[in-house]
């Protein structure tokens, strides 16, 4: 994938999510993540991506049980 390819996919992701609207953004990203995991097809790579995605995000101030 070239830089312009990445640009294109990035823009399409944002545009698609914008069109769906913010209330559906979580579900959209969850679906995208599942399809990506399936396509990657490698446990270690996928686990590393889960860790990398969480890395640097601040912990919630009040622990939430959900």
């Amino acid at each position: 994938m070239t830089d312009p390819d990445l640009d294109l996919v990035y823009t399409r992701l944002c545009a698609t999510m914008t069109a769906l609207g913010e209330p559906q953004a979580n579900l959209f990203l969850a679906r995208f993540a599942l399809l990506a995991i399936d396509r990657i097809g490698d446990r270690e790579t996928a686990l590393q991506m889960v860790a990398d995605a969480a890395d640097g995000l601040p912990a919630p101030e009040v622990p939430r049980a959900g």
Binding site: N26, L27, A30, A33, L34, L35
Partner: protein, 567 residues
């Protein structure tokens, strides 16, 4: 909407209380084993002991088999255990066999799963029948063995006094109270085990927030036996509903309560009946139906850290509580019982040292931890414990129709036989010795064979070779048995170890042997990576203890004596 309740289509027999012959207020007899709790687990322990010729007293607080929404799914592994106890026929006669199920999301089918089933199998992967059927079948067998199993109904344990060399139990009956002494006590007295509480022991683990209403109904329907799961169904938006068929037109319906719903209100018939009605309408079931039983369920994933406490052994729900999703509750308890029975029998008979019972705890605690991990995954999908599990489940269900890759996440992960891979009893394989076959600790896989016996030939299966004894499977071209195997058998028999030689031949042979198995399909040798000279040593519960390609007699003898804590 009012709809009258109907009883379960089952005739309950009430059993009277009975006092043993007493000396003062003490049972005059001396008991090797007292089992507390006549449920599926208690009966299985009693029948397992009886198969080894060991007597037991079985104490039950109630006056008959239990009714209510209890276990309904019995796994292939449990059926194999029941076959060895001589009760398989009843399960196959009454039980409804099934092999898979379907899951729906908002009315659309998103998964059709099947449990492992192929031409090698003798038994279905699962049968459905009510717990009162299960208990009645086991009770009938126990009553036929009255000289070995002393059942005492309406006898409630009120005190447990443990000593170094045994346990005294105080019991109450409508005819009076007494105490009885046991060398060993098996606590199979269920999730609220009195014995467990008396010993000050607590289960550890997770209790889930999500609640399910469990409803048994009477409904005439031609629908096949399968597991149906409805996620966010049109009849009950936002909920999850499970449907299982039982014998005699009884159906089990489980549905999830919504967040914030009051359990006390939700369980009232006026709130349950409309939900079941709309479910049946959605399913296209037009026949009349009646409610039988309504209960509230909350998933637990809990276990004791050890199942042996001196001379008290815990089994089934008294030892661990598993979520209903994946049907591991009763099935894991039956597996506990099968593991415990042969070990306790050999200890009582003085053939094994009591450390063998530590391996019961080691193996079954490890099995419970695996069951807990699997059960937790099933539960996290069926009753999502956080917004994130909910969100990801919605994503999975929404994608599953068109994306096969995510469908396995919906699979309910039904119970399967667990290998005791890290059991202290196992004899490790020589490195690289086997490329296939059940490794030490695993259960015997199924495969058809021809059994030649007394000049007769019949089709059978390799699990037919198991019994209340060790089994030495010796593989050969023509049924000849090596002098090594014969020597090992003689030495173990001399040490009073119950063991049978089970020769398996590649081709048919007319030897002088009493019993010979032939691999007529050619699949068994390949499945076990067996060659002429290969030996598999099996425990009485069908787990592999060790395997070798051409062992000397000492290897086999040492494996057994080490396991029995004799060496």
């Amino acid at each position: 909407m009012s709809r009258p309740f109907t009883p379960y289509p089952f005739t309950l027999v009430r059993h009277p209380a009975r006092l043993p012959s007493l000396t003062g207020n003490r049972d005059a007899g001396h008991h090797s084993v007292v089992i507390v709790g006549a449920g599926p687990v208690g009966y299985t322990v009693a029948l397992g002991l009886a198969a080894h010729g060991v007597r037991s007293v079985l104490i039950e607080a109630d006056d008959g088999v239990c009714v209510g929404s209890r276990a309904i799914c019995i796994s292939r592994r449990s059926l194999q255990i029941f076959e060895r106890l001589g009760v398989l026929e009843g399960f196959l006669k009454i039980g409804l066999p099934w092999t898979g199920g379907r899951s729906f999301y908002r009315g659309e089918q998103v998964l059709h799963f099947t449990m492992p089933h192929d031409e090698n199998q003798k038994l279905p992967p699962m049968v459905n029948l009510a717990q009162y059927h299960i208990e009645q079948i086991l009770l009938d067998r126990a009553e036929a063995l009255a000289d070995l199993i002393d059942i005492r109904w309406q006898t409630r344990v009120t005190g447990v006094h443990t000593r170094e060399d045994g346990t005294a139990l105080s019991v109450e009956t409508p005819l009076g109270a007494y105490t009885l002494d046991a060398d060993w006590v098996v606590a199979a007295d269920g999730g609220r085990s009195f014995v467990r509480e008396s010993l000050g022991l607590a289960l550890n683990g997770t209790t889930y927030e999500g609640r399910y209403v469990i409803v048994d109904i009477l409904l005439e329907s031609k629908r096949p036996t399968e597991r149906l799961a409805y996620f966010d169904p049109p009849c009950n938006p936002g909920s999850t509903v499970l449907v299982h068929k039982q014998p005699d037109n009884v159906w089990r319906v489980d549905y999830q309560l919504k967040d914030g719903e009051d359990p006390d209100e939700a369980i009232k018939p006026e709130n349950v009946i409309p939900r079941v009605t709309s479910l049946l309408e959605m399913m296209g079931e037009r026949g009349g139906w009646s409610p039988i039983w309504i209960a509230m369920y909350r998933a637990h994933a809990l276990t004791l850290d050890r199942y042996r406490h001196g001379r008290v052994l815990f089994a089934g729900d008294a030892a661990h509580l598993l979520p209903i999703f994946g049907v591991r509750g009763a099935n894991s308890g039956i597996d506990d019982a099968d593991n415990l029975a042969w070990k306790l029998a050999l200890v009582v008979q003085g053939i094994a040292g009591d450390r063998l019972l530590d391996s019961y705890s080691d193996e079954r605690v490890a099995a419970a931890r695996e069951n807990l991990a699997q059960g937790a995954k099933s539960t996290e999908f069926m009753a999502p414990p956080s917004f994130a599990f909910s969100l990801m489940r919605e994503a999975v269900l929404g994608l599953a129709t068109h994306h096969a890759g995510v469908r396995s996440l919906i699979n309910p992960r039904q119970t399967s036989a667990i290998a005791y891979s890290s059991s202290p009893l196992n004899v490790a394989d020589d490195t690289g010795a086997f490329r296939a076959g059940p490794a030490p600790g695993a259960v015997l896989p199924e495969c058809p064979i021809t059994i030649l016996e007394n000049g007769q030939s019949r089709l059978g299966h390799v699990t037919d070779l198991l019994g209340a004894r060790f089994a030495l499977l010796t593989f050969s071209e023509d049924g000849a048995v090596s002098s090594t195997a014969i020597e090992a058998l003689a030495r173990l028999s001399a040490a009073a170890v119950p063991i049978a030689l089970c020769p398996i031949s590649q081709r048919s042979a007319t030897g002088a042997r009493e019993r010979l198995s032939v691999d007529h399909t050619g699949r068994l040798f390949a499945m076990f990576d067996a060659h002429p000279g290969t030996v598999y040593l099996l425990r009485p519960d069908g787990h592999v203890l060790g395997r070798w390609h051409s062992p000397d007699a000492a290897a086999i003898v040492d494996a057994v004596l080490h396991a029995l804590d004799q060496s």
